[in-house]
């Protein structure tokens, strides 16, 4: 066969090689989507009515009222910030040994499995579910929220840091080992310098997440600004709710911008 004919006949290879399987997969997916859409019941008259109700609900948020319940808002905010700072600090500190244990290139199999299991548990359960458990254990208030956030920080930091540790340049660690360094010296000289920027970046990012979560956790009684928001909604004081939401948005933006700045600076 000459090159010109071969060039005309050439097509990029398809993702799924067998033609029948390819069409079966595409056709099956399409059929399922059509059938699934058919089972949805949409009450259009109710939806039209709801649009107006939603509009009224949103309208009640204006104007935002910062003044009437300012003391409560301030208290909630401080509680949230305290919760964020303490949970981030504890979570990050505790996540380091977990991450080391969850790195296949450092830890022996039993420790690896234990730490990976811990991370899996922490990541499987949504913060709200863990918060409900901790509220049941420790009562209403910021302690439960703090513990919840610290626990999920361990899962988050542990997993991502362990992945970074598993991705290090092996040769650098090998060179440190070859000098006769001890295991802790290997961590401090061969591994820590390689993962430090990511560690700082992740910690800043987690701080930002913890603040956002602390605003949600109040809804299940775990303290913080979320608690204040929840009670204002319960009392139909939507102006106060609007004020709280605006403050949360502002703080989240500041946190996000700052953590982004920190992450760029250390890369």
């Amino acid at each position: 066969m000459d090159a010109a004919a071969a060039a005309r006949a050439w097509r990029p290879p398809p993702l799924i090689e067998a033609a029948w399987l390819r069409w079966a997969v595409y056709g099956g997916a399409l059929l399922y989507a059509v059938l699934a859409l058919g089972t949805l019941e949409v009450n259009w008259t109710r939806a039209a009515e709801g649009l107006e109700r939603g509009g009224r609900f949103l309208g009640a948020f204006f104007p935002p009222d910062f003044v009437t319940h300012w003391l409560e808002i301030e208290e909630g905010l401080l509680e949230s910030l305290t919760m964020t700072v303490t949970s981030t600090v504890f979570g990050v500190i505790l996540s380091v040994p977990v991450a080391l244990g969850a790195s296949r290139n450092l830890a022996p199999m039993p420790i690896y499995l234990f730490c990976r299991g811990l991370i899996a548990v922490s990541r499987t359960f949504q913060e709200i579910i863990i918060a409900i458990l901790f509220v049941a254990m420790f009562g209403f208030g910021p302690l439960a929220g703090m513990l919840t956030l610290a626990f999920s920080t361990i899962g988050f930091m542990g997993k991502l840091l362990a992945e970074d540790i598993e991705d290090i340049e092996k040769s650098q660690a090998e060179a440190v080992r070859a000098t006769g360094a001890s295991w802790f010296q290997l961590l401090a000289w061969g591994i820590q310098p390689q993962v430090l920027p990511r560690f700082i970046g992740l910690s800043a990012y987690r701080f930002d997440i913890n603040f956002r979560e602390s605003a949600v956790l109040g809804l299940v009684g775990a303290g913080g600004i979320g608690d204040t928001l929840n009670s204002s909604l319960d009392r139909y004081e939507f102006g106060t709710s609007a004020a709280i939401l605006l403050i949360i948005i502002a703080i989240v933006m500041v946190c996000e911008y700052t953590s982004g700045f920190i992450r760029r600076a250390v890369q």
Binding site: Q172, G180, A188, P193, Q194, L196
Partner: protein
């Protein structure tokens, strides 16, 4: 001084990297280990300092049976073997001085090393050696800001900081240009001679091996197939090590290189080294 007997390494994957290798390197001898990729050169030197655990065989360094050591004793023994790596293997985010001082990790405790409180004598030796390789003006530069040749010189200094008896050198020139390669090889040989160190140098550049090493060992598929002085390296020998190829140019090149280096380059090298 280094005695290897019946060294065998089979990886978990089932690959037999080394097959009953026996080798003796006397004190002060510079030996080049040549062979095709996958012949087991890297595995061999990593078995010596046990970055790779041998499957069978014994390795002795002086009186110490390296293959029988427990963790703590192994770390003490590793101080006596300086290693130089292919891609330099410097800790990139640490400074030149920190990388050099990491050669002393086997001698200082954890907290001293954590706070970088090394004995003054170590720091002094670091400055002396950095000056010797022409890098004393870059002490606080980060390692990743250096060029390839400079990095490898830091790698050499790190290995020498251990005050070793033996140098294990893994493809020191594989990522360097031809001129820098020669300078680095010359530096390693000079320093080894000055300090009376034995050295095993893995190298795939036959011409360089011939030019710089007094003894050449050829490895093929995990077995030693040649062991002799550089002058005995004939096309037939290269064929047994690497397989069939036209070797005439390879062997001649080694002799040409030395003469071809212009005086200016030579002078610059000396200036850099001093």
């Amino acid at each position: 001084m280094l005695v290897i007997e019946g060294l065998t390494k089979r990886y978990a994957t089932g690959d037999l990297a080394l097959d009953d290798v026996s080798l003796t390197v006397p004190k002060g001898q510079v030996m080049a280990l040549i062979g095709p990729s996958g012949a087991g050169k890297s595995t061999l030197i990593r078995c010596v300092n046990r970055l790779v655990e041998p499957t069978a065989g014994t390795i002795r360094l002086g009186e110490t049976v390296l293959t029988a050591l427990g963790d703590r004793a192994l770390r003490r023994a590793r101080r006596r073997m300086g290693m130089i790596f292919q891609e330099y293997a410097l800790v990139e985010r640490l400074s030149v001085m920190e990388n050099v001082l990491s050669g002393r990790l086997g001698y200082v405790g954890f907290w001293r090393s954590w706070f970088r409180r090394f004995p003054l004598a170590d720091i002094e030796e670091a400055f002396r050696l950095l000056a010797r390789v022409g890098l004393d003006h870059m002490v606080d530069k980060r390692a990743d800001a250096l060029s390839g040749g400079q990095r490898q010189r830091v790698g050499i200094v790190r290995a020498l900081m251990q005050d070793p008896e033996l140098l294990l050198v893994d493809e020191p020139t594989a990522s360097l240009d031809p001129k820098t390669s020669r300078q680095i090889m010359r530096l390693i040989i000079e320093l080894a001679k000055e300090r009376g160190l034995a050295a095993i140098i893995n190298i795939h550049d036959v011409a360089l091996a011939q030019q710089f090493a007094e003894r050449i060992v050829g490895l093929h598929a995990g077995r030693i197939v040649f062991d002799g002085p550089a002058s005995d390296l004939t096309p037939e020998v290269l064929t047994t090590i690497y397989g069939e190829e036209d070797w005439s140019a390879t062997i001649r090149k080694a002799e040409d290189d030395d003469e071809d280096e212009p005086p200016a380059v030579e002078a610059a090298r000396i200036a850099a080294a001093d």
